[in-house]
């Protein structure tokens, strides 16, 4: 049953690619408002598949995904209006300049001019790329593209921010800036659902975590409960236990 503060509900979600075995097998989890939810698993565990289904990029047949009470399958536009997504390797429109790209995204979300100006300035300054916004995206490094993608994702203050490996390619300063932005968004009652391989970072950053192994959910709950339930101590130790006990 859905609680008022549930921002993301995944119920019995499975995904089978044609002619192959199940990439994700019957997983269920809930992300509540204010949660900073880490989604961890080995390569090919099914993290990106789940994330793509959540943000409406991937079609699925089994299970149900709800964002703030709206079904991803039945009301995709309602869900997308309150969600933002950054893939692991964001391919942005390279023929646009940084500011044109941000303006494009702001137009899609209908953000008023004054608000977009303030937000772009705030986040671009935080990531130190304001000066580069007039340059073509094609001239950006991987890290700069990542920063631009993050700014574009947060300028409309999404209720649910979905990130696939957001820290890859970011310099230490930008990583700190991103962590601050994540905390800030969660403090405002929004939720963040992100995948990562950086277990120590997840342990420090997240209040909740889910571990996926070969498409099946190995654990889902608060970080505190996870660390208590397993006596391994660290998230890294628990992860290694799960991976090694196949």
């Amino acid at each position: 049953m859905r609680k008022m503060c549930d921002m993301l509900i995944i119920n019995n979600f499975s995904k089978t690619y044609k002619g192959d075995k199940k990439a994700v097998d019957n997983i269920s989890l809930q992300v509540e408002a204010g949660d900073l939810f880490g989604f961890i698993g080995h390569n090919g565990a099914g993290k990106s598949t789940t994330i793509k289904a959540v943000v409406g990029v991937l079609e699925y047949e089994e299970g149900e995904i709800l964002i703030d009470g709206h079904s991803v399958k039945k009301e995709p536009l309602e869900c997308k209006r309150i969600t933002a997504y950054i893939p692991d390797n964001p391919d942005l429109y390279e023929h646009l300049t940084g500011i044109q790209y941000l303006n494009f995204i702001a137009d899609i979300f209908g953000i008023p001019a004054t608000i977009r100006e303030t937000k772009i300035k705030k986040y671009a300054d935080a990531f130190e790329i304001t000066g580069n916004l007039g340059d073509l995206v094609s001239s950006y490094s991987h890290g700069m593209k990542q920063k631009l993608a993050i700014i574009s994702a947060v300028i409309h203050e999404p209720k649910l921010l979905v990130l696939d490996e957001p820290f890859v390619g970011l310099d230490p300063k930008a990583s700190i800036a991103l962590k601050e932005i994540m905390h800030e968004l969660c403090a405002l009652g929004n939720a963040i659902f992100f995948s990562t391989h950086a277990l120590d970072l997840a342990e420090k950053l997240c209040n909740k975590v889910a571990m996926i192994h070969h498409g099946k959910l190995a654990f889902s709950g608060t970080m505190e409960d996870m660390l208590k339930a397993k006596e391994g101590g660290s998230l890294e130790g628990i992860f290694m236990d799960v991976v090694n006990h196949e």
Binding site: Y17, K18, G19, D20, V55, G56, V57, E59, L77, K80, R81, T83, Y85, P87, D91, L92, Y93, H95, L96, G98, I99, Q100, N103, F104, I105, A106, D107, I108, F109, G110, I111, P112, A113, R116, E117, I120, K121, A124, T130, G131, N132, L133, G134, D135, L136, S138, S139
Partner: protein, 564 residues
């Protein structure tokens, strides 16, 4: 010389041989890798998704069917020449057709194929000599062109041989000739591509400069070839004035004129014909030498500046001096429209290939106005058919304008950015509308300008002028809407290079050639007198019909989900 020195020299020779063999293998390895990607061979072999595999099989079958039709058409054309007593012109004509098609298929491909290709950094970081890289990229273009030339020349050669019964020498020279024919135009196109790329790489807006230069080059080439091939013998003389039947003797008498035109238009054709038809081995060897020598010279010269050109192309100017300025809010439709327009204009491959029809239409309309239709008609000796020209001009404009079919490939052009379109809250209708608007931004003003210029120069009456304006507009709308229909069914996002999409995809072929064919058929029906109503009335009915078709397709497509 002592044995140590001999052994050393042997080892040196051995290593030279090994290096040369390795380079050849490397070249073939690069070409093989490229062909596997372009032909999608791994989809046939390893794709587990049966839907994707079946799609590939269906597309390949359709392409094979089209190629068979082209071969049959070429054979039929050669048979017509033989029937009209022009059998000895067949080798020269087939060679010139093969060369021209090669030139036009290659001219806009060099940027993306020879320069600025996606895996340039990866390939250049490998221990492969630059010349091997150029050779591999050129060989790839050559193999495709040789295949197309074979489709054109082989059936024409069979028809020629069946009429002339030539010696065994002809067959050898003909097959070798097919392989050599596309070498000169491929190299020529590559040279122009290299020059255009080298010049444009100096500009800040390299893509825009390359687009303008490419269009200027193509237009200049067309004007030049039209000037040197304008025949002194009018078409009217080839038909019996009373019965309208073909005058075979008049056609036969044209043989020297055709020969002369071909030689003036493309001088290597003379050597080729002397070798193949006249059995002159010296001429044929000279043709072979020019073809191969020209290519070797090109590769040598290009290898000197290849890295420089590519570096200039892939280096981006970064000013890093942006200061936040006032931003304006726009609608979702306008944001998508601006994004699509910029996508087209900032890509040389897209802009040149998709906008050339509009450019040619405007140039033709201006020429008609300045030179005057009488002079143009008189030059072609078809002034008797002015009344047909008046009625058919609207279809000519429509054919040229509809070469700009952006909608058919717009969705596929999203490519690796499709995740953005799918994850953002964009209703499909608004996305399709933005593609339509982009297409119409180019076709509607062109149609109106050309129609007005044609109406003034041809002095069409009120009804004629209305139809002149209405017809290209209706067909612009119809082909743009049909493009959405095509793109929504055939789009794929995992393409490697834009050329693949713009020039080689079924979406593009059906969208552009299909539209041109459809309009031509309508034009013929309206002006051939097969219907018991006037040409103007037929054109009016055709316009209404296609307007209805466009509306039906639009309503059906506008809420269709974006293709997976």
């Amino acid at each position: 010389m002592n044995s140590k020195e001999e052994t050393g020299r042997d080892l040196l020779n051995m290593s030279n041989i090994e290096v040369k063999t390795r380079q050849k293998n490397l070249c073939w390895l690069l070409v093989k890798n490229r062909l596997i990607t372009q032909l999608g061979l791994n989809i046939f072999r390893y794709e587990k998704d049966s839907h994707k595999r079946n799609n590939k099989i269906a597309t390949t079958a359709a392409i094979i069917f089209v190629l068979i039709m082209v071969a049959v058409y070429c054979g039929g054309m050669a048979y017509s020449y033989a029937y009209l007593g022009l059998v000895n012109q067949i080798p020269g004509i087939s060679m010139v057709i093969g060369s021209l098609i090669t030139l036009f298929f290659t001219i806009f491909r060099t940027n993306g194929e020879l320069f600025g290709f996606k895996d340039y950094d990866m390939v250049l970081s490998l221990p492969i000599p630059v010349r091997t890289i150029i050779n591999s990229r050129f060989l790839n273009m050559y193999l495709w062109n040789a295949f197309i030339t074979f489709i054109i020349m082989f059936p024409m050669g069979i028809v020629y041989a069946s009429f002339v019964k030539p010696s065994i020498g002809f067959y050898i020279m003909w097959l070798v000739g097919i392989l050599l024919t596309c070498l000169i135009p491929t190299t020529l196109a590559a040279v122009f591509g290299a020059v255009i790329t080298a010049i444009s790489s100096k500009f800040r807006y390299a893509s825009a400069a390359a687009t303008v230069l490419s269009i200027v080059f193509v237009v200049s080439f067309m004007v030049f070839s039209m000037n040197i091939t304008t025949s002194d013998t009018g078409l009217a003389k080839l038909f019996d004035q009373e019965t309208g039947n073909i005058d075979v003797e008049a056609f036969s008498a044209m043989a020297p004129v055709i020969s002369d035109s071909l030689n003036r238009m493309y001088p290597p054709a003379k050597l080729f014909v002397q070798g193949v038809v006249g059995g002159n081995i010296g001429s044929f060897l000279l043709f072979t030498g020019i073809s191969v020598g020209w290519y070797i010279l090109f590769v040598f010269l290009l290898s000197l500046g290849y890295r420089k050109i590519n570096t200039a192309l892939t280096s981006h100017m970064s000013r890093a001096d942006y200061k936040m300025e006032t931003l304006r809010q726009g609608s979702m439709l306008f944001a998508l429209y601006k994004k699509t327009i910029m996508r087209i204009l900032k890509s040389t491959v897209c802009a040149t290939n998709l906008l050339i029809g509009c450019v040619l239409a405007v140039l033709l309309a201006i020429t008609m106005l300045i030179v005057g239709p009488e002079k143009v008609m008189k030059g072609l000796e078809v002034s008797d058919y002015m009344f047909i020209v008046k009625n058919a001009a609207c279809y000519v404009i429509a054919v040229m304008v509809c070469m700009t079919n952006i909608t058919a490939i717009s969705l596929a052009l999203e490519g690796k950015n499709i995740w953005l379109i799918k994850s953002l809250p964009i209703p499909p209708k608004i996305l399709y509308d933005s593609y339509l608007l982009t297409n119409l931004t180019f076709t509607i003003p062109t149609s109106i300008v050309c129609s007005i210029l044609f109406s003034i120069s041809l002095k069409t009456g009120f009804i004629g002028t209305v139809l002149m304006i209405l017809t290209p507009l209706v067909f612009s709308l119809f082909t743009a809407v049909a493009g959405i229909f095509i793109g929504n069914r055939m789009a794929y996002y995992d393409w490697q290079e834009e050329t693949q999409l713009v020039k080689q995809s079924m979406m593009s072929v059906i969208g552009i050639l299909g539209g041109m064919l459809l309009i031509s058929v309508c034009g013929i029906i309206a002006n051939s007198g097969v219907l018991p109503i006037s040409a103007n009335m037929t054109t009016f009915i055709i316009n209404i019909l296609f307007l209805v078709f466009a509306a039906v397709i639009y309503l059906n497509e506008s809420n269709r989900p974006i293709k997976e």
